[in-house]
Every structure is written in C-alpha cells, then in structure tokens.
C-alpha cells in the first residue's frame, strides 16, 4: 500500500490587495489532492488557472488562506505546512522539500557551480561524495558547457538557466520536489536529459508535483494528472 507524502484538504488561497481598496482575488478553492511516495503528479491547466499559486502555497512562499497541507516529514512526522512555524518550514526546505521555480532566481555574483552546490548546503545525510564533485557531475549531466561553470547564470541563455535551476533543485535527492515548467525552454535533446534525471529521482523515492504545458514531458514523466480551472480541480481531459 503506497504511503501518502502530501495531502491537501480544502486548500484555498485568496489575495487581498490592501493598497487597492482591499480588492480580493480568489486564486484557489477547496483543493483536495494527495501524492504518494515516489509518485509523479502532473499539474495542468491554462495560464492563470492557479497552478503556480498551488505550488507556492505548498512551499509556503504564499500563505494559504484556508484548508490544510499535510506533509509526512522524516524528521517532524505529519505536519500541516499551512500552519507550521517559519522555523519548521526552513528546516523542511533545507532537508526534505525543494522547489524549482519557472525562472531561475539567484543571488547575484554566484557562479553556476556554486548555485548548484547551494542545493546541498545545510543538508545532512550526504552520500559521501564531496559537494563540489557532485555539483560538477550534475553540471556535466545537464550538458552545461564547461566554460560556463564558473560564470554567473544571470548571463546565461534561458535554456541554460533552466537546467542550472533544475540541477540545483534535484541534487539533494529531496523527499518532495515541486517543479514548475522544467522543460519549457529546452530543445528536444536537453529536454530528454532533464526528464531522465527527474525520473531517476522518482526511482529513488522522491514524490514529484510538476507543472507543465508540454504533453511530451507530461507523458514521459507523470503517473497521473490533475487539471486546474479557475482555481478548482476538474477531471482532466488528457490522461496518461
């Protein structure tokens, strides 16, 4: 029997724009969703349907307005990410949950190699391989030209940035990976490389929630799909 890693119960998110006369924007309503250990769930839907909002609520970059987000942590047991303390969230982000945003956002003046190594920083249970060695291995696998390793990713092409971003998110073998459009600006060959790397993570037991508009990526990666429409889950039209 598969064990649940993540379970959303009635998750809702509404933004209140206090500087625009408390204008309210409802982004998510009553989301119920669960993800098992080692399962890859694809999140699809039109732009503005709430996919990234849902992901950011799980990572707590957005504060959920209602509902629960139960996560089964190795260190903390069952914990509601909607109400966990900031300190607990920071711990989980360091040790168990990673988020890979649609666009790479990095601290300025940090090299590609350091960006990827930072994915390991603060984590325990290393495989024994040194961080530098492991990060080099990942950069080689994502086929980033070697002369770019010590350069700043802000100067990279969209596809190169995206691969660095993915490498940073997966290098630590997280328990839960939240990944937003990992293959959007990649050519067919590098797309395949990224998909292979993510699938390898699944083999190691990582549970993955992935947002994508790309049918090829979704079909290769996902065990099942969930579709969002105006902030609500509907029965998906495409299935795998």
């Amino acid at each position: 029997m598969a064990s649940k890693v993540l379970e959303l119960n009635g998750l809702g998110k509404e933004f209140t724009l206090r500087i625009l006369n408390d204008k309210r924007i409802a982004a998510l309503h009553g989301i119920n969703l669960s993800i098992n250990k080692g399962e890859v769930v694809g999140l699809i839907g039109k732009s503005g349907s709430g996919k990234s909002t849902l992901m950011k609520c799980i990572y707590r970059t957005y504060l959920p307005s209602s509902g629960e987000i139960w996560y089964h942590s190795d260190a903390l047991g069952a914990i509601d990410l909607a109400t966990a303390s900031d300190h607990e969230i920071l711990h989980l982000r360091k040790q168990e949950i990673t988020y890979c945003a649609q666009f790479l956002s990095v601290i300025p003046r940090v090299s590609a190699l350091e960006v990827v190594m930072a994915g390991l920083y603060g984590r325990t249970n290393q495989s024994g391989v040194g961080a530098l060695e492991l990060a080099s291995d990942y950069l080689a696998r994502i086929e980033l030209p070697k002369e770019l390793w010590d350069a700043y990713p802000s100067t990279f092409s969209g596809g190169e940035q995206q691969r660095v971003n993915v490498a940073r998110a997966i290098i630590s073998n997280p328990k839960l990976l939240l990944i937003d459009e990992p293959t959007a600006s990649l050519d067919h060959k590098t797309k395949n490389v990224v998909i292979e790397m993510i699938l390898e993570l699944r083999e190691k037991g990582t549970s993955i929630l992935v947002i994508s508009h790309d049918t090829f990526t979704l079909e290769r990666m996902c065990d099942r799909m969930v579709e969002l429409q105006q902030g609500t889950i509907i029965t998906p039209l495409i299935s795998v």
């Binding site: 933004f15 209140t16 724009l17 206090r18 500087i19 950011k56 707590r60 970059t61 957005y62 504060l63 260190a75 903390l76 047991g77 303390s85 900031d86 300190h87 607990e88 969230i89 920071l90 711990h91 601290i107 300025p108 003046r109 920083y121």
Partner: protein
C-alpha cells in the same frame, strides 16, 4: 512540535519597548501603525519601539525592514546595550544551555557579554571603529576585550581577519580615516567577528555605499555567514539586501512589528498594507 527540528532558539526577545520622555499608561496603546504615529498625544513621549517579540535560531539570519524611524535600529541597539530598554526582556542561550537574561545584567556583565557573544556593524564606520587607532589596533581592541592578551597572537589573528575581509594586510597599521568607505566597512566587519560571536547585528551596513562596493560587502557577509554559521539580525530599509541575506523577516512600522514571515513570503505574498506598499515600491 516534537522537538526534532535541529535546535532551540539562541535569542528570545519579549515585549521589548523603548520610550523617550515621560510617558503614562496610555502611551503605548495610543501610538503605533493604527495611529500612524509613534508620538504619544497625551505626553508627547516618543515610542521608538514597543511590544517587539521574536526568536532567533543558531545560524539563522533574521531581517528587520521598515522605513526610517520605524524602530528597527532601536531594537538591535537595545540588544547590543547601546540603548537601555524601557521594558521587556531578552534571553541569550549559552552553549551549555543556560539562559542569560540580557537586560537584567550589570553594566560590567553587559560589557562582558557584548565582548564575548556579540558583534555589531553600524551604518557609520565611526560608530564601530576608533578612528584614532590603526585598523589592526581596532581589531586588537576587540580581541583584548574578549580576553586575548598575547601580542603575537593578536597580530596574527588581526591580519587573518583583515585578509578574510579583503582589506590589504599592508594597510593594517594605517588608520581607517585614510580608507575608502567600503574598506572602512570591511574593517568594521573584521572587528565585529573578531571574537567569533554566535550573534552578529548589522545595522544598515551598505547604506550610503556605491552599488559595486555594496555588492562586495554583501557578498562578504553572505560568505562569512555560510562559513562561520553566525546568527545575524540584519536591519535594512532596502528589500534587496533583505532578500539577499535573510531567511526570515520582520516588517516594522511606527515602532511595531506589523508582519513577520519567511523572507520569500514577505516579498511575494505580503499581508499587511504597509508590507504590500513596501514591496510594490521596489524599483
């Protein structure tokens, strides 16, 4: 919580309040963000900060953001004993797990605590450095206060620290007055970390520096934080500094904390009207 999150807090602040002038029982409740003022209408006393409570964990970086006069510097200055608190409490946990009640200590003990457990970097290098001493002498002063007396050791450590903060060691015997602003700031940082403090306060450390100099100082602080795992409180009105350095953030206005949260949450999903205004004002 089942206590498995790695550690306990290092610093706990409860109800920290600083009022200038004579005040009465209505002062605190008639000031604050809901009145958009920190001046008591009855007594004209000024509430620099009130009811400030938070915890800081070992190795964590906490940001305090807010406009001028919001009370953010007042908070760290009270914790570093530059200012005396009006009311409130602050506890520092020592390595042996005993708690020190910071604000109740004698002046001599406060000096001891500051020299052994804390470091401070001020906006103005003149506040943190003695301009009559050489840069090496400034660091030596801090080392002597922290109990190091062997001259050879002091010189060795001072030059290592200057090297670490990228100040040319050949300038060790020069006075900071002859240094550029960025270099003065780096000497100040070297002095602040000389005693290996578990707790470092940074008060608007890049304000007034050119962007390229600012970048170098910020990079250095980030590196030091990562290498030495120092817990830091970073006070800044600049959200990019907060974004770059901190894990968690407190937003202050009119002497009160109006919002607290993970730094990425404060920047991407601010809840309070004032935080939303701050974030939307980002260039």
């Amino acid at each position: 919580m089942n206590g498995k999150v790695d550690q306990q807090w290092l610093l706990k602040v409860e109800g920290l309040t600083k009022i200038y002038g004579s005040y009465n029982e209505n002062t605190v409740r008639s000031t604050g963000p809901e009145f958009n003022s920190n001046i008591c209408p009855e007594t004209n006393s000024i509430v620099a900060c009130a009811d400030v409570s938070f915890e800081l964990f070992p190795g964590e970086v906490l940001g305090i953001v807010g406009e001028s006069g919001s009370g953010k510097s007042t908070v760290v200055k009270q914790l570093y004993f530059d200012l005396e608190a009006t009311t409130g409490a602050a506890y520092l946990r020592k390595e042996d797990n005993t708690l020190i009640s910071l604000l109740e200590e004698s002046n001599a003990r406060k000096r001891y605590l500051r020299n052994h457990f804390m470091g401070m970097v001020y906006q103005n290098p003149r506040e943190g450095l003695n301009f009559r001493f050489s840069s090496g002498g400034n660091i030596a002063e801090k080392l002597i206060m922290a109990g190091m007396f062997n001259v050879q050791n002091i010189r060795g450590r001072a030059s290592a620290l200057l090297d670490r903060t990228e100040v040319p060691v050949t300038r060790m015997d020069d006075k900071p007055a002859s240094f550029s602003g960025g270099m003065q700031q780096r000497v100040q940082i070297a002095k602040a970390i000389a005693n290996n403090p578990p707790l470092l306060f940074l008060d608007e450390v890049t304000t007034g520096l050119d962007v390229s100099v600012q970048a170098r100082v910020l990079d250095m602080i980030r590196e030091l934080q990562r290498d030495l795992n120092i817990a830091m409180i970073v006070v800044s009105h600049d959200l990019s500094v907060i974004r770059m350095l901190t894990d968690r953030t407190l937003v202050m206005k009119n002497g009160r904390i109006v919002e607290r949260g993970l730094t990425d949450q404060i920047l991407q999903d601010p809840q309070h009207a004032y935080s939303q205004l701050l974030v939307s004002s980002l260039l």
